[in-house]
Each structure stands twice: as C-alpha cells, then as structure tokens.
Symmetry: C2
Subunit: 244 residues, 2 copies
DNA sequence: GAGTGGTCTAGACCACAAT
DNA sequence: TTGTGGTCTAGACCACTCC
C-alpha cells in the first residue's frame, strides 16, 4: 500500500485508495465470486491503515454491490445470482406491480464481423468479431420481447459453439465462466413501431408501438461487455424506474 | 433524544434514530431549504450522542439528497434548484447524449373532482378535488411531449387561480411556495399509440408510437403529491436510465 | 470460545470558508 | 483567527456465526 502525499495533485483519501485497490483486485479475479475477503483487521494490518479506514472502504464497496457483508461471517465478493440478474437488470414489471420473470426461446446464435454500430457501441477496433444472440422472450405464455445480444467475441471464447445451450439469464454465466462481471448498465428507451418481422414474432400488427430498450452493460472497470437491443410489447407490462 | 433499549423489538441504531429525527424536522419545515443545520458538534451535544454518530446520520442524509454538506461552511437543507429538477427528474436526453431542456406551453389548468384513477394513484378519498395542468412541452422548436399534471388541490391552494403563470419547472415552486418537497418519484414506461388529439399536437400521424411516462412523485414522508402522465415523441430523443 | 462485522465513542489533525 | 466539515486513528462493547 503506497500512501500518496497530501500535496500531490491527484491526492485521494486513504479509504478511497483502499477502496480502489480492493476493487482492482476483485476486477482482476484475485478473489472469485462468493469468496470471502480477508477480515477487516487482517486487511488493516496488511495495508498499514486503521481498521476504521478499511471499514469505510468496504462499506462503500458494499453500497456499490461489489461485496456483500454478513455479520458474524465475513465480507464476500458479490456473485450474480439469477435473482440479482432479474431484479437488478430486468426492469419490466406487471401492471399490478408483480415481478414477471421471462423465459427465453433461442432464435439464432452466430459469430460475425462487427458492424459499424456494434464497433461504436462496444468500443471495438475495425475487424473485431462479435457473437450475436437473437432470442424471443416470453412473459408467461405470451411472446413479449424480441432481443438481440451482441458480445465482443474475444471476451467470450467458445460461447454458443456446437449448439451449446444459452441459459435464460446470462450475467451469472458471464461471471462464472468468463470472469466478466457486469457491474453497471446504461439504458436508452424509445417508443418505436414494430417491423413486420417483429410483428409476426409478437403477434401484433406491423407498426404497433413497442418499447425499445438499448442497453450497454459495463464491467467493473467501466468497459463495455454487452450490447443488448430489446423490443418489448408493453400492453400488460411496463418498465419501472425510480428517481431519488 | 430518547435512546431506545437494545432489547426492544423495534430497536434501531443510534445513528439511524438521529437520521430519522433530522429527516422528520426537515419534512416538517423546522428548517427551510438552503438553511444551515446546526453544526455536527452542536447536534451531538443537543442529542447527547457523539459527533461521529451525528456525522454518520448526516452522511446518510446527504446520500439521500436531503442535505448538502460543504466543507468549511456547514450542512444545508437541500433546495430544488431548476438544475436539480431537470437533471434529476427529467430523463429525456438527445440521442448524441446532450441534455435537452424543455420549454412549456400551457394548454389548460383547472380544478375538478378527482376521478377514480386519480384517487387511486394519489391516495385521495372520494370527493377530493384535484388541479389538472395540461401542457405541451417543446424540445428546441419542436413540440415533443404532451403532459398532464394532476395535483391534490388541498396541498396547493390558489395555484393557477386567476390566470397565474405556471412556471416551466414545477418542483422548486412546490417547495418554495407550498412547502412540498419532492424527494422521490417512481415512473412506469410504456410504448403507446398516439391518439388523434396527441397526433395533432405533436405533428405526427395518429397511431404513431409514443413513449408514455407515468410518474408518481412522493414527498419526504413517501406520500404521493403529484401524478404526471407524459407522452413523448422519441425520434430525436431517448429516456436515459442507469442500472448499478 | 473465537472470530467476524456492527455500533459508538473520543480525540487528533487537515482543508476550507468566512471574518 | 475561528468554526466548519473531512479524514484517520484507537479502542470498547455488542450481535451474530461457527465450531
């Protein structure tokens, strides 16, 4: 642990330095999801700071959902449970307020050269290749979402090769199999008219209004790791957002 | 400051009790927006707890945007600046990422008996009256949003009477003139088809897809104080959401 | 009983703003 | 110079989990 001088222009508080160091270690896979971190006391000794400083860093990491703290047990690297994937990253909700869990039907899954829009969104160089997953997602029995997931092929070797099954919730797969943790996502929402293909898949007339969700998912270092474009029927369901 | 026994079933930590007490005082107008709170030291003496405990309570209040802390100056009750209204509660954004500030053209503003949907959404008893404000909102020169704002009339006496002007940003008006602080809002988004009225106001064809934003705004105590239904053209603009 | 995080305290020193 | 919040430390005690 190198302590920065208080005069240096890029000075950050000690607890922030500890926070960033631990965040870096988690991002690099130094500990795996669900692994316990060393105890506050041990970290304090290792890093040469007080336990209170380590505590503040860990509390911040917990607020960012990077670790989970459990009294009497320890501090653990956060894992992407299916529940977290759905509750944290799936914002569609029944109109009576109940959570609606989607199922998925795979339509297509293949690799290809990244197009211009894909390169721009994912920050890829010319010539990079991507994996495209097209799915139809159902709420109950009803087809409700057509979705394309675009992944940088380099990050997800072998995924989907040889007709391998694609699970319904992807983020825990990214984390467990490829060491890619989705920490954050930005979404852009628009109302669009259904194309004739989409209309057929969703059993509506062409031109029917659909909610388009354009999501970019970022890893712990803020690098884009997934681009997902969903077009959703919202007659029985809505996108829930909280501003506070 | 009454300290609860650690055995009582409803036990909350001291810093939480301090937090709630201060939150209550702010909600009741004990201090006005932009007023300074007593210093950490003074509060600690007044409440009979340590300064560290007060600090933790104030840090939490700051995270919830109820107060603003300024080093060397003090801790102040958060005020709804126009900027905060727009940046925190107006999520529409140009497709190139730039903020788009709307202007407003008042269409109608009148009181009436609350309908069933209005009573349900705002938690009003039968017979309650509401104030309805209909506006057309423009992004640049372009009409882009038709919006209805529904307010419990009892909370906003005299608002809009006698042809009084309705400002573009309402939340700072609610706070300064009526002591109503919007602390939180939940939004439900859907894609809908433009009615013929909406189509005319927005210069699109009937049936064109619009983004419907159904917002319920809550005060510091979690009570509904405004229901706002917006229908937006999203060809040049999108709704931005961050999941983290 | 040993080890963990959760709460609470007391005090030192720093950075910043106002006077 | 005074008063504020910001950082850092050290230590006490509690609640919870596991052995």
């Amino acid at each position: 642990m190198t302590i920065e001088s208080t005069d240096s222009p890029g000075f950050r508080p000690l607890y922030r330095q500890v926070h960033d160091l631990l965040r870096r270690r988690i991002a690099q896979g130094h500990w795996r999801p669900d692994d316990p971190l060393p105890s506050e006391g041990r970290l304090a000794v290792e890093l040469g700071v007080s336990q209170g400083t380590v505590r503040k860093a860990l509390d911040d990491l917990a607020r960012e959902n990077l670790v989970v703290r459990r009294q009497g047990r320890g501090t653990f690297v956060a894992a992407h449970s299916v529940e977290r994937s759905l509750f944290h990253f799936f914002m569609l909700c029944g109109d009576e307020g109940e959570r609606r869990l989607p199922t998925s039907r795979l339509l297509d899954c293949r690799r290809g050269l990244a197009g211009e829009a894909e390169r721009a969104r994912l920050g890829l160089p010319e010539g990079a290749s991507v994996l495209r997953i097209d799915r139809l997602r159902l709420l109950g029995e009803r087809p409700a979402i057509v979705e394309r997931v675009v992944l940088p092929a380099a990050l997800f070797p072998d995924l989907g090769n040889g007709g391998e099954a694609i699970p319904n919730t992807l983020y825990d797969l990214y984390q467990r199999r490829f060491g890619v943790t989705v920490a954050r996502a930005t979404e852009r929402l628009k109302a669009v008219a259904a194309t004739s293909d989409e209309a057929e898949q969703l059993s509506v007339v062409p031109g029917a209004p659909l909610l388009e969700i354009d999501r970019l998912a970022l890893d712990l270092d803020g690098r884009p790791v997934e681009w997902r474009l969903s077009r959703c029927l919202t007659d029985e369901v809505h996108y829930a957002s909280v501003l506070e």
